[in-house]
């Protein structure tokens, strides 16, 4: 297939040229455009390659386009073989995902990095962005363990450096440390999982690993799965491994946040699917149960913490945890159905998870770009200082609104459609033969529904406080619309949100084909009649149906019909602009508005058992009379459970060990020489003991 080969070259070439352009040109408008152009060519080619690779019917055994195949010197060939190959349909979906978000993000970077001109060098972020995109594209293309780990690590390092772009802020450094710690922690588990799967000759090709997996005992297989789940779960942001996410994503530049949240954490999902389906070929039901439970808990906790956040980007980061949870609900349900011999339903679960993966990439990418535009215009992430931005930045507001509606699972946008597929899969779960297991499904449904309801509340807050009302600060009053390149980038993703929803009838069968064959899965049995999508449920012949495209057209038609009807029935058309009704007061000030804190207050009280909120109110009274208040400071905090009770003890323990170990490092050369001699003596002693 020469076309695929050309696209692959174009992808890698594009990214490398973009990186080179950033390095050579350094600054100025040309540097920004060429960096972005390289990335856009690369991402565009990657997108096309992914789509072609994913949708094309292929001969059995796949197409061999070894593009990069290196054998390391000094080690046996079977071990030192690094191969990347575009063969797997599952990987192709994720490759397409990188491209889909990569193109608008690169374009957005042109406008966004203009603010850096003169303040910091454009070389590192431009180069790293291209390399980051390249490494993310290589992860799903990897065909051997070594290749996978190399791409994975390149991705981790470039993303860490990108997070550290604004390292002059102390928060960024702490966020970067968390991220680095968690990602290396995860890598350790991934490496052990790969090692356990390695066949005797050390060949790391995925086919060899899959073959080796069939010979493993069930206990060892489960161990491999759990290790992989921990490793990839820490990248994906599954609770309780999510702690790095809400600090690292806001610290990064906004277009990088969009990539981190939209794409990189999704590769954790890819990793879990790679291990569970492709390498291990499915497993016992409790694997699925574990994934489902973690997913449901992540979905709920993610949105609950998001509600308490007033930093726009942190709020979005917590929503990533929620959506990763929804994705894992689908994946977990799929794994469960697979083990109970319900392949049609299993496909539905995986398709729901994958569909939501793509959709979340679009709307979360869009929302982070929108948040970046707001940050660009107001120089703050604190929602309490915003307000009224819809008048100053109407287009950004519109795009952000589309993203907010999509993430709140409002029909007919894409977020609703994929959550609907996950819901249908869970309803099908009633046909699991074991009743005590089937009971998990309604619980997951309830948690999913609560999470999506709370997400809607949270995005009313996020959009309402940020864009609506009256400006709460001077910066918000002076805000300006962002450059065209940033607007076009957001518009692209907003359009993708609409199209991906309307194209449900095509997406579900296509994603079904992507997982077909893995772990013995059949293609999706979804029937598409016209524009509508029907899914098979538990009972034969019974289906759930939706048609997002007619729904969208119908809504548009109705929207157009109402003004016409009003005109026909001679409704009054008079309109007067006046003050907001004020209950008798004289003037309206921005401080009379509801704040984000106040908006979330009822939910903070209702979920007080989780939040354990603490409130400080300090009132500064007028010196003459206690009936008049000069100022009130109100501060509310919630208990960060995981940081305080899970991570802080671990960190404290590690620190105390490190302090003790430090005693060895006296700084005296004599002591170090003594260590060397002692080590030598011990090694020789061991050699004497075992050498014979």
């Amino acid at each position: 297939m020469p076309l695929l080969g050309i696209l692959l070259d174009l992808m890698v070439g594009g990214y490398l040229c973009g990186a080179l352009a950033a390095l050579v040109l350094g600054r100025g408008v040309l540097a920004r455009w060429f960096t972005a152009l390289g990335a856009m060519v690369g991402a565009g080619a990657g997108l096309l390659l992914g789509i072609l690779d994913w949708t094309e019917p292929r001969p059995a055994g796949g197409i061999d386009i070894y593009w990069l195949s290196i054998t390391l010197p000094l080690v046996p060939e079977s071990i030192g073989h690094i191969s990347f190959i575009a063969v797997d349909t599952l990987g192709a979906v994720f490759l397409a995902l990188v491209g889909l978000v990569g193109v608008p993000v690169a374009l957005y970077g042109v406008g966004y990095s203009r603010a850096w001109e003169g303040r910091r060098s454009l070389r590192p972020p431009g180069t790293l962005l291209n390399l980051f995109l390249l490494s993310m594209s290589m992860v799903p293309l990897a065909a051997s363990a070594l290749a996978f780990v190399l791409a994975w690590e390149l991705m981790a390092i470039t993303s860490y450096l990108l997070v550290m772009t604004e390292a002059d802020e102390p928060e960024t450094v702490s966020a970067g440390n968390w991220y680095l710690g968690m990602t290396q922690f995860g890598l350790g588990f991934i490496l052990v999982a790969f090692f356990l799967l390695l066949p005797a000759d050390g060949s790391g090709d995925f086919t060899a690993l899959a073959k080796q997996a069939t010979t493993l005992s069930p206990g060892l297989k489960s161990l491999v799965f759990v290790l992989a789940l921990i490793g990839f779960g820490s990248k994906a942001g599954l609770v309780p491994l999510h702690v790095w996410l809400p600090s690292a994503h806001p610290a990064a530049p906004s277009h990088v946040s969009a990539l981190l949240s939209g794409v990189m954490i999704k590769l954790g999902v890819y990793g879990v699917l790679l291990f569970a389906l492709r390498l291990l070929g499915g497993g016992p039901a409790w694997w699925g149960g574990l994934v489902l439970t973690l997913g449901a808990v992540s979905a709920l906790l993610g949105v609950l913490y998001a509600l308490m956040e007033h930093d726009l980007k942190r709020l979005l980061a917590y929503h990533s945890i929620e959506n990763i949870g929804i994705i894992f609900i689908g994946v977990g349900a799929g794994l469960m159905f697979l083990s109970y011999g319900l392949p049609a339903l299993a496909v539905l679960g995986f398709v729901g998870g994958l569909y939501h993966t793509i959709n979340h990439a679009c709307f979360k990418g869009l929302l982070f770009l929108g948040a970046g535009s707001v940050l660009h215009a107001t120089h703050t992430r604190n929602m309490e200082e915003m307000g009224g931005l819809i008048k100053r930045m109407p287009r950004t507001a519109l795009f952000f609104l589309v993203g907010a509606a999509a993430i709140s699972a409002l029909p007919p946008l894409n977020g609703f459609v994929s959550e609907w597929v996950v819901f249908q899969a869970l309803v099908g779960g009633a046909s699991i033969p074991k009743r005590q297991v089937a009971v998990l499904m309604p619980i997951a449904v309830a948690m999913l529904a609560l999470a999506s309801g709370l997400a809607a509340a949270c995005f009313v807050k996020a959009f309402g406080i940020t864009f609506l009302g009256i400006a709460r600060s001077h910066e918000a009053e002076e805000a300006h619309e962002v450059p065209v390149s940033m607007q076009v980038a957001m518009a692209t993703l907003a359009l993708a949100c609409v199209v991906l929803g309307a194209a449900a009838y095509a997406m579900v069968p296509a994603l079904g084909r992507a997982v077909a064959g893995l772990g013995g899965l059949p293609p999706a049995s979804a029937a598409t009649v016209g524009w509508s999508l029907s899914l098979p449920l538990s009972a034969p012949g019974a289906v759930g149906q939706i048609s997002p495209l007619p729904m969208l057209l119908g809504l548009v038609l109705l929207l157009a019909a109402i003004p016409i009807a009003l005109w026909l029935f001679r409704a009054s058309r008079a309109l007067r602009v006046s003050d907001t009704w004020g209950c008798g007061r004289i003037a309206q000030t921005p401080r009379m508005q509801y704040t984000a804190t106040a908006f979330a207050e009822p939910l903070r009280r209702i979920f007080a058992a989780l939040y354990r909120p603490t409130e400080d109110v300090s009132i500064d009274f007028h010196p003459e009379s206690r009936y008049f208040v000069q100022s009130i400071a109100y501060r509310a905090r919630v208990v960060p459970w995981f940081e305080r009770f899970l991570y802080d003890p671990v960190i404290a323990r590690v620190t105390s060990w490190a302090t003790r170990v430090r005693a060895i490092q006296s700084g005296s050369l004599h002591a170090y020489l003594t260590y060397l001699v002692a080590a030598l003596v011990i090694l020789l002693g061991l050699l004497l003991m075992w050498g014979s």
Binding site: P394, P442, G453, A456, L555, F569
Partner: protein
């Protein structure tokens, strides 16, 4: 042309719902007034209110954006769209494949979402208060709704409304099964919460601190208010039709003959009036709950829904 006829029936049903909705709410108000020993306004009072509002000028806040003016249309359009999906007169409707019960629920949430945004737009404290509370109640009632749908889908094997109705008609025993009854109870509580009825919200109140829905739409006037009020009334009628036709489907026409449709219309009216009486009696008997007691009520409905599913599981 049978195809055309089906679409005509769907259109007729939606028109009927739009026409009946103000009357239904007027009837509830009249019943309540009689139960409270007041003479009450006539049941057609809401029609007069609509006529008045459509003739009046709109006053828009200086701080409001374009969104404020778009929201009444979005809310009205999404609610009317739901009217096309809910089986009121006949099954299966031509739009049955466009949206199932989940779509109905989330289309209504779409309206709530935009109304809540509009509440924040003029920058008044009341609007924000209403939005915050409305979204809290809406979010907390979501799990109950989802579980009730789950329970219905378990029995009917589908989330499609037409299929659920057809299934219950074919097998009348399911309608009195404990699972169905519990799901009915759960959905009834949700109906109260989603429509801002007592004990969650008081539709008659104008005391600012107790308002939820009314606080949110405080800034609206004229034709915008008319659209929003009409949509809210339509929502009541749609919830009543769901309760009536999903759990007691008899009378719904399965063939599009004039006789069957007339009978369907008559039974629908009877169900609506019966539910109106139940709601009026209920609202007269209970007092409004404090906002922070509302979650307890929703928790009760959630437990009912969980029980409904457990029973459905055991009954399999």
């Amino acid at each position: 042309m049978p195809v055309l006829k089906v679409y005509l029936v769907a259109l007729a049903q939606t028109t009927l719902a739009l026409i009946l909705a103000p009357g239904l709410v007027g009837l509830i108000r009249w019943f309540k007034a009689r139960l409270q020993n007041r003479s009450g306004a006539p049941a057609w009072q809401p029609y007069l209110e609509l006529r008045k509002l459509f003739a009046k000028e709109v006053v828009v806040s200086r701080s409001a954006s374009w969104l404020f003016r778009a929201v009444p249309f979005v809310v009205f359009a999404s609610t009317v769209a739901v009217a096309f999906l809910v089986p009121m007169l006949a099954v299966p409707l031509p739009f049955d494949s466009v949206g199932d019960l989940l779509v109905v629920v989330y289309l209504l949430l779409l309206g709530t979402f935009f109304l809540a945004l509009a509440g924040l737009d003029p920058g008044s404290a009341f609007g924000g208060m209403g939005s915050s509370r409305e979204m809290t109640v809406a979010a907390l009632s979501e799990p109950t709704v989802a579980l009730a749908i789950f329970a219905l889908a378990l029995s009917a094997g589908s989330t499609n409304l037409g299929q659920i109705v057809a299934r219950t008609m074919a097998d009348p025993a399911t309608a009195v099964s404990p699972g169905y009854l519990l799901a009915f109870g759960a959905l009834f509580v949700v109906t109260l919460a989603e429509n801002g009825r007592l004990p969650v919200d008081n539709p008659a109140t104008h005391l600012e601190l107790t308002m939820i829905h009314e606080a949110m739409i405080l800034e609206y006037s004229g034709r915008y208010l008319a659209l929003i009020e009409w949509a809210a009334w339509l929502k009541v009628l749609l919830f009543f039709s769901l309760l009536g036709n999903l759990f007691v489907p008899w009378g719904v026409a399965t063939a599009l003959t004039p006789g069957a449709l007339c009978w369907a219309g008559t039974t629908l009216l009877a169900k609506l009036v019966a539910l109106a009486v139940v709601l009026a009696v209920f609202e007269t008997r209970v007092a409004k709950l404090r906002l922070f007691r509302v979650p307890e009520l929703l928790a009760v409905s959630f437990v009912l829904a969980v029980l409904a599913i457990t029973v459905s599981f055991l009954a399999r």
